[in-house]
């Protein structure tokens, strides 16, 4: 257990350091953008005001509210303090809505969509890769290239093709939104069913592009493991192939967990774009809105939250990995 604890603390330390760094980046980068966001609000509010001093007064009020009149370092600490309280300030484009409120209404959709999709995609990809490694032959030569091709479709491309085919042509699924246009959220079967139906296209478009990449990795790992000495030994001990394949998959899959942790960032990027195509009410759409509306408090917060979610996912995966793979404990115990 000592080895594991050490591993855990090491990862936790990394997690925290990265969070801080990500936080600084998130704060700084959007603020490098030209243009004064407060001026943007104020000049809209100031329409119809004929005297310049009135505009100036409003401007000052808002700079006070947004804190842009303070030195950047001080702003940073204020921001940090507020974020710790869960207060991300006001959205510029949706003022007077707060950023927290905007995010609160979209984040659960994203979490509910992306994490299952990525995990299912990861799982299916691994199955496919393992099969390709084991079965070889036609399967390997046909299914693999197809899945590689699919995984190389850009995320939005996949989403659009699925939408055109299944929603516009075949009309099997709705085209957009998170639930039926004629429903109001509640806990009825009708509503839940509607949510499930709306879930399918975005879900599968993420899953399908996730599969290929994972399959390739898993295939290599499995081939590598299939050549391992323990496979030969287990065979000579009379263990049946099915069981050996079980060993191999488990062992090949373990490094894939780290692979998942590391590529989850890129996947989420693609998945956000897929959300946009389906007008799914998640963070992808929120980012798009924020980008187009030059809403930097919102961009900061969304990217920060995505980073935090991914880091947490990453962290969790690493912990699970350390737990599942006895080799980690052993190396850390030295």
């Amino acid at each position: 257990m000592k080895g594991y604890l050490k591993y855990f603390l090491n990862k936790l330390g990394w997690f925290l350091v990265t969070m801080i760094f990500a936080f600084i980046l998130n704060f700084t980068l959007p603020r490098l953008m030209p243009g004064d966001p407060v001026a943007a609000i104020v000049s809209r509010l100031a329409q119809g005001m004929s005297d310049a001093s009135g505009v100036q007064a409003i401007y000052e009020q808002y700079t006070e509210l947004f804190g842009t009149n303070k030195p950047i370092i001080e702003q940073f600490f204020i921001y940090m303090r507020n974020v710790f309280r869960g207060d991300f300030g006001y959205s510029i484009a949706q003022y007077p809505r707060t950023v927290a409120d905007v995010i609160k209404s979209s984040i659960w959709w994203t979490i509910a969509l992306q994490f299952p999709a990525i995990i299912v995609g990861w799982f299916l990809g691994n199955m496919l890769g393992a099969l390709a490694a084991y079965v070889r032959g036609g399967f390997d030569k046909i299914i693999m290239p197809i899945s590689i091709f699919l995984s190389n479709l850009p995320a939005f491309g996949m989403a659009i093709i699925m939408m055109v085919v299944f929603a516009v042509w075949l009309k099997w699924f709705p085209t957009s939104g998170g639930y039926g246009f004629d429903l109001i959220p509640n806990f009825s079967w009708k509503f839940i069913w509607s949510v499930i139906v709306h879930y399918q296209l975005p879900f599968w478009s993420i899953v399908i592009i996730t599969i290929g990449g994972q399959a390739i990795g898993m295939r290599s790992m499995s081939i590598y493991e299939l050549n391992a000495d323990y496979v030969k030994y287990s065979r000579f001990m009379g263990i049946k192939d099915r069981k050996i394949i079980g060993y191999v998959f488990r062992n090949a899959m373990l490094p894939q967990i780290t692979g998942l942790a590391l590529s989850i960032g890129t996947m989420v990027g693609g998945a956000l774009v897929a959300e946009i195509i389906f007008s799914y009410p998640g963070l992808g759409s929120t980012i798009l809105t924020a980008v187009l509306g030059q809403d930097y408090p919102l961009i900061s917060a969304v990217t920060l939250i995505i980073t935090a979610m991914l880091l947490t996912a990453n962290f969790a995966l690493e912990i699970v990995y350390g737990f599942l793979d006895p080799r980690i404990k052993a190396t850390q115990a030295d």
Binding site: W14, V17, T18, F21, A22, L25, N26, L29, P30, R31, L32, M33, P34, G35, R136, P145, I148, F149, N152, L153, P154, A155, F156, G157, I160, I161, M163, V164, V168, I216, S220, I223, Y224, N227, L262, I264, G265, T266, V268, G269, G270, L272, V273, I276, I277, I287, L288, V291, L292, Y296, I299, T303, I306, T307, L310, L311, N314
Partner: protein, 416 residues
């Protein structure tokens, strides 16, 4: 070296990938030589012209006319204006007007049109008839007027002095022209886009730019990764610690988020294709750095490096001669992946509206973005977006195949 290359070219994956990629590159190079049209030139007034051969109508009147007596020409002409659905709709209207259904033979075009022409009244409305229906019948009525006429169409010009029309020519229904004799014919194999640009020409130009973006991004990422990896791996110690710290940070901070943040903070007017490429490169060097570092660390203690040191070679010489060749295959593979992921990243950014600015060059991402803005996918204008998706996928696919092929060669454990 020759040996390795031969091995690589023996891998079917690599060969397929390489062929696709070469085909793309060749098209990008050769097509503009034969079709030197500026890719961003707006040639169409109107959006999303269908793929096809466009023949100048005016020129076609002046082209030599030939008489061809082809069976079924009339029925084709009629069918193009009046299909079965329209006939049923006419029947529906006529029934609504009070004509018994059994009196209407929708297959007898003449009788149907007679009945229609005598009865149709655009102001008439029946219960349940929507404005859309009404508009439809008016359009239908306009379209079937004179449908059965066998008279030639008359071409007339205005007499400049009297202002009256003077007949100059008659176009018979059996007149044909030979397309090769028409002065102005434009083939638009993929139609036009929302700006009225030739999609194929634009696509090829965009592919070129996207490939360049990929290359630049790849070069930037690979260079940063290579240098950091080499320095970190070879020198070790504090330098290694610092570089690895940064690398680890960049590993866990999602690159897409970073990409959004940086692109956003640069601002549109600063975002040229090159800048975007550099930004993409800057956010994707991490893997190369890690791979190079671990390779270098394992190489650093290899005996041939030690021997090279003992032979009095300098660090630079050792890195260039004794380390780089060994990691070259990894770096090339990483580079290939960076190119394809760079192209994908550009496309993703453009969809978010954070892509390169539009004015100078088309990119695959921007083509996609505009096709989406003008709703090509809903309107069924597949040529505006589908070829773009396929091109992106093919580029990435070919690169990945090449990579897999190379991987099998360089990673003996992956061989069967």
């Amino acid at each position: 070296m020759k040996h390795t290359l031969r091995q690589i070219f023996r891998s079917p994956n690599f060969v397929v990938g390489f062929s696709i990629f070469s085909l793309i590159i060749l098209t990008v190079i050769i097509y503009p030589i034969f079709v030197p049209n500026p890719p961003l030139q707006i040639i169409a007034q109107g959006t999303f012209f269908e793929p096809g051969i466009y023949v100048n109508t005016y020129d076609s009147f002046n082209a030599p006319s030939y008489t061809l007596k082809l069976d079924g020409a009339d029925s084709k002409r009629i069918a193009s204006k009046l299909n079965d659905e329209d006939r049923l709709a006419m029947q529906e209207w006529l029934v609504g007007f009070g004509i018994p259904e059994n009196e209407i033979d929708i297959h007898d075009t003449e009788a149907l049109l007679n009945l229609w022409n005598t009865n149709f009244d655009p102001t008439k409305r029946f219960p349940g008839m929507t404005n859309a229906d009404r508009n439809y019948f008016i359009r239908l009525n306009n379209s079937v007027q004179g449908l059965l006429s066998t008279d030639p169409a008359i071409i007339a010009v205005t007499d400049e002095e009297t202002g009256s029309l003077v007949e100059t020519d008659r176009v018979q229904q059996t007149d044909y022209i030979n397309v090769s004799q028409v002065a102005n014919v434009r083939i638009l194999p993929l139609g036009t886009d929302n700006f009225g640009r030739d999609v194929l020409t634009e696509l090829i130009a965009a592919t070129r730019v996207s490939l360049l973006i990929g290359f630049v991004a790849g070069i930037v990422a690979t260079l940063i990764g290579l240098i950091l990896g080499l320095v970190s791996g070879y020198l070790g110690g504090l330098v290694d610690d610092v570089i690895m710290f940064i690398t680890n940070l960049f590993t866990v901070i999602p690159s897409f988020v970073l990409l959004i943040l940086i692109s956003f903070s640069i601002g549109q007017d600063q975002r040229g294709a090159f800048t975007i490429a550099v930004v993409i490169g800057f956010t994707s060097w991490v893997w190369t750095a890690r791979a190079v570092r671990s390779q270098v660390i394992s190489l650093r203690n290899r005996d041939h490096v030690n021997l090279s040191k003992l032979s009095g070679h300098s660090i630079v010489y050792i890195i260039v001669n004794d380390i780089l060749p060994y990691i070259a295959s990894y770096v090339v593979m990483a580079f290939i992946l960076q190119i394809s992921s760079g192209i994908l990243a550009e496309a993703g950014l453009s969809i978010l509206g954070l892509g390169p600015r539009t004015t100078e060059v088309p990119t695959l991402g921007l083509m996609m973005n505009w096709a989406m803005i003008y709703q090509a996918h809903i309107l069924g204008k597949w040529w505006a977006y589908f070829p773009v998706i396929v091109t992106i996928a093919l580029i990435a696919f070919s690169m990945n195949l090449m990579n897999t092929g190379m991987d099998q060669v360089f990673n003996p454990t992956l061989r069967d």
